[in-house]
């Protein structure tokens, strides 16, 4: 049985549609990320799941029970969830242990049991030593852990995380990401994780649901998503691929605006007609063969060098070994591997 099932969710704010016909199933114990740029509807989807928003149409089931649908509207407090908010939402007037104890107190649990469970939850997030501290005495990373302990303490059916790592600096983010993975492996909770950071999603998730403008573009395991993006958007957002629009003619790709011609590799499935070309920076080569393009910038990345060429008003990015070239020079760019999406 699916832990969560979303069926045909629609939600608009006034005249602006935010989520348009979203359907998704999350299996028991699975970690699914909702990934997409800001404004794509991922947070709204999470909030509908939490019961903080009500879908205009569509059905939400948690553990087989319908919590939102025609005539059904289970309020958030009766959905048995845990949630970590983007700003953590740690209550400033309560100490760390009071924050964590709150969900248990509401369940009328005996005091001794509350104390035991709070201690256990604080041990999970390694905050035992700070139990009596006030939130204003804590750092961002520590607040994040308080929020996590509070969300987990009552043993939720599903844990929802709304960009939990985005307010932290890079090093702390790495550390908490690893901790989250370890915690999840230990507790086996079903997780829904909202993020706009594709690296985070790729590293943590069992499956990733990529959203764009309120629509689900693709749901797949990270590797599948990376290797076989279903749409140009997924390829661009998840793999950081170059995306060009144009037309396929006689085994070559002609860009729409400038008519720049790229020879397609022999193994590319190319049907003639309008198409979108998707190619990763590392699948382009600089050398003797290919399309002549003027170099506009050269960026040293450490492990490699990125070269940028203006094509059709965007920059074509190529990642290749270091070369002694200067911006302004003309180089030959060759496609080694590409993916074509027919338009229409």
């Amino acid at each position: 049985m699916a832990a969560i099932s979303l069926e045909g969710l629609f939600k608009s704010y006034g005249a602006t549609p935010v989520v348009r016909g979203l359907s998704l199933e999350v299996r028991e114990g699975e970690l699914v990320s909702l990934l997409g740029p800001s404004g794509c509807g991922k947070t709204t989807t999470l909030r509908m799941l939490a019961g903080l928003e009500h879908p205009d149409t569509g059905v939400i089931r948690i553990g087989g029970e319908t919590v939102a649908g025609p005539g059904v509207r289970v309020p958030p407090e009766r959905r048995g969830l845990g949630m970590v908010f983007q700003g953590y939402a740690v209550w400033p007037h309560r100490s760390v242990e009071e924050n964590v104890a709150y969900p248990l107190t509401l369940r009328r649990m005996p005091k001794a049991e509350v104390a035991t469970k709070v201690r256990e939850a604080l041990r999970w997030v390694r905050l035992e030593a700070l139990a009596t501290r006030r939130p204003h005495e804590l750092s961002g990373g520590q607040l994040q852990r308080v929020a996590l302990a509070r969300a987990l303490v009552a043993g939720p059916r599903v844990l929802l995380l709304d960009e939990p790592l985005s307010n932290l600096d890079a090093a702390l983010r790495e550390e908490l990401r690893a901790e989250l993975a370890a915690l999840r492996a230990r507790l086996g909770t079903t997780l829904v994780f909202v993020t706009h950071d594709q690296g985070e999603a790729l590293a943590l998730s069992d499956r990733i649901a990529v959203m764009n403008q309120g629509v689900l573009e693709q749901v797949d395991a990270p590797e599948t998503l990376y290797r076989e993006p279903a749409t140009p958007f997924v390829a661009g957002f998840v793999g950081g691929a170059n995306v060009l629009t144009g037309e396929v003619r006689e085994g070559a790709f002609h860009t729409a605006r400038s008519g720049t011609v790229f020879q397609l590799p022999a193994d590319t499935l190319a049907r003639p007609g309008p198409a979108t070309l998707v190619v990763r920076p590392e699948d382009l080569a600089l050398g003797e063969l290919g399309t002549s393009l003027p170099l506009s910038a050269r960026l040293f990345l450490g492990h490699a060098t990125e070269y940028r060429f203006p094509v059709d008003g965007t920059l074509l990015r190529v990642v290749a070994p270091p070369l002694e070239v200067r911006p302004g020079q003309t180089l030959k760019v060759q496609l080694r591997k590409a993916r074509l999406f027919s338009v229409g």
């Binding site: 019961g51 407090e77 908010f85 209550w91 509401l106």
Partner: protein, 553 residues
């Protein structure tokens, strides 16, 4: 909040506001608008003097407050003047203590014969009576409005602007005068407009310094009072004057809005920008002396004069140690009339404080629940604050001079008989100061992240439980502040108290007014000292609460 609960809440909140504030004022306006037709235009022209005096005095007060407030706010909030904090506290006293008491202080200092200053300078040198004296006292008691506007604006001026002027080669003083001053001027002007409004609505000072003078100076508020005393025949005329007075409010607010708009464009939004205070250098001693002298003369001296008057056997007698006595103090403070007035005033102030907090918090919540309509909710709650006390009191007098009978569902009938009861005072206080509760709560609520409450819901709390557990404790310091502010305002309120106290009852504001006007200045001075003590105590508590609230965050 779901839709039907929202509308039900709005309705429940609107009923008392419409019934006890909007309705009466609208009735008064309707009556006032009909008055010229009823009484003839000649009568209206005969009252033009009062309107002219109101405009001239209020304008004078605004100019004085601006002239004093501009250099003071620059010195206090932009330079390294020593004791800035202490000076700031002292210079906010004029607004915290009722203007009537400052009028009493200046009467002690500068009444033509017996005033203490005139005894030093020679009899008749100064005369606080008349339009100039009224404008002077009103301007001083409005000074904090300009100072606070200046402080807020100065905090928002990007220090980089002044630094840029310095880099271009301007001296520190020149940089200040050519960049910062023009930027904060619109805010200072809007503060001055507020002083204008406050002075136009003021009743106590023009009564004290105008009505008993010869020739008497009449303004709209004191004319309204005189007409109300005439009984029913005067009420029609009083309503017409009230309408004229009330029209000043939207006009001034429009001016403020226009000034604010032209000023806001150039001020940085966002948090307070720390700026290095301008070093006064060699001018420091002069500036300190000037500010200290101003403070002593304008703030401390009138209060000292009241204290001295309360201790003198008789006002006007020679100043010797033998003439000092505590008999007025024991006489006034132990009198049953004073005790009754104190009891009723404190009870009414506490009741009004609770209403202000409750209805104000409800207004803030409704404002949030209705988003776009919320601005309307705030306007309804804040609007009575801008209505002059004389007008609000007159409106309540007129509306509830007869009993209202309501019949619900053909069965339940109830009668609202409020005339000649202290309830009318409670309503007036609560309506007038509701803005304090609304503004404070809505500002505090806006700073609360909604996810704090949502986190409580997810944790398993229902809507009511979540509200009690999360926003309410976080709003408590704010509500305490609003309560204390409303309590102090009501306990020391004079204008509406004078008009609305029923025969046989007594409240502090009315008692002070009566003692000063008809009895004995020494006895009034004792009560005034008690008012000042209450205000200072209240401000100290406020400062304490504010510091605690800051610690939680």
């Amino acid at each position: 909040m779901n839709t039907s609960a929202r509308w039900l809440g709005l309705f429940a909140w609107l009923v008392p506001l419409v019934l006890f504030a909007m309705g009466p004022v609208v009735l008064l306006l309707a009556r006032g608008a009909g008055a010229p037709g009823e009484l003839g235009w000649e009568w209206l022209v005969s009252e033009a003097g009062a309107l002219g005096n109101t405009l001239a005095i209020s304008g004078g007060a605004a100019v004085l407050a601006l002239a004093l407030g501009t250099p003071l706010s620059l010195l206090l909030f932009r330079t390294d003047l020593p004791l800035r904090g202490a000076f700031t506290v002292l210079f906010t006293l004029p607004s915290a203590i009722p203007a009537f008491i400052w009028g009493m202080g200046w009467l002690s200092l500068a009444s033509p014969r017996a005033g203490y200053l005139n005894r030093l300078l020679g009899e008749g040198t100064l005369d606080i009576h008349g339009p100039v004296g009224i404008a002077f006292v009103e301007g001083l008691s409005g000074l904090p409005l300009v100072l606070l506007a200046g402080a807020a604006a100065l905090r928002r001026v990007d220090p980089a602007l002044e630094e840029a002027a310095r880099v271009c080669g301007a001296s520190p003083a020149r940089a200040l005068l050519t960049t910062t001053v023009p930027l904060v001027l619109p805010s200072l002007l809007s503060g001055a407009v507020m002083v204008f409004l406050m002075a136009a609505s003021s009743f106590g000072v023009p009564y004290l310094l105008g009505v008993s003078a010869s020739p008497p100076t009449r303004v709209l508020t004191t004319r309204i009072y005189e007409l109300v005393l005439l009984g029913d025949e005067g009420l029609g005329r009083a309503s017409a004057l009230a309408l004229a007075l009330l029209l000043l409010t939207p006009l001034s607010l429009l001016a403020t809005w226009a000034l604010g708009r032209s000023g806001r464009v150039r001020l940085s939004t966002g948090k307070g920008l720390a700026s290095r205070p301008l070093a006064l250098g060699r001018a420091r001693a002069w500036a300190t002396g000037g500010v200290a002298g101003t403070c002593v003369l304008l703030v401390l001296l009138p209060l000292a004069a009241i204290l001295l008057t309360s201790l003198q056997r008789s006002f006007g007698a020679s100043l010797t140690w033998e003439e000092l006595t505590l008999s007025h103090w024991s006489g006034v403070l132990l009198e049953p009339r004073t005790l009754r007035a104190t009891g009723l005033s404190l009870l009414l102030a506490a009741g009004a404080g609770v209403l202000v907090c409750g209805l104000g918090l409800a207004a803030a919540l409704l404002q949030r629940a209705f988003r776009r309509l919320g601005a309307g909710v705030e306007a309804i709650a804040v609007w009575p604050y801008a209505v002059p006390g004389t007008v609000l009191a007159l409106a309540l007098l007129l509306a509830f001079s007869r009993d209202w009978r309501f019949i619900l569902l053909d069965k339940v009938a109830f009668v609202l008989a409020l005339a000649h009861t202290p309830w009318l005072l409670l309503i007036a206080y609560a309506a007038k100061y509701l803005a304090l509760g609304t503004r404070n709560s809505s500002e505090a609520l806006a700073q609360l992240d909604p996810s704090l409450t949502e986190a409580a819901r997810i944790s398993g709390a229902g809507p009511l439980r979540a509200f009690i557990d999360v926003p309410l404790p976080l709003l408590r310091p704010t509500l305490t502040v609003a309560f204390i502010l409303a309590f102090l305002s009501c306990a020391t309120e004079i204008t509406m108290s004078v008009l609305l106290v029923p025969a046989g009852s007594e409240v502090l504001g009315k008692l002070l007014f009566d003692l000063q006007s008809y009895a004995d200045p020494a006895a009034a001075a004792v009560l005034a000292c008690a008012f000042v003590a209450l205000v200072v105590l209240g401000q100290a508590v406020l400062a304490l609460v504010a510091r605690r609230a800051a610690e939680v965050r």
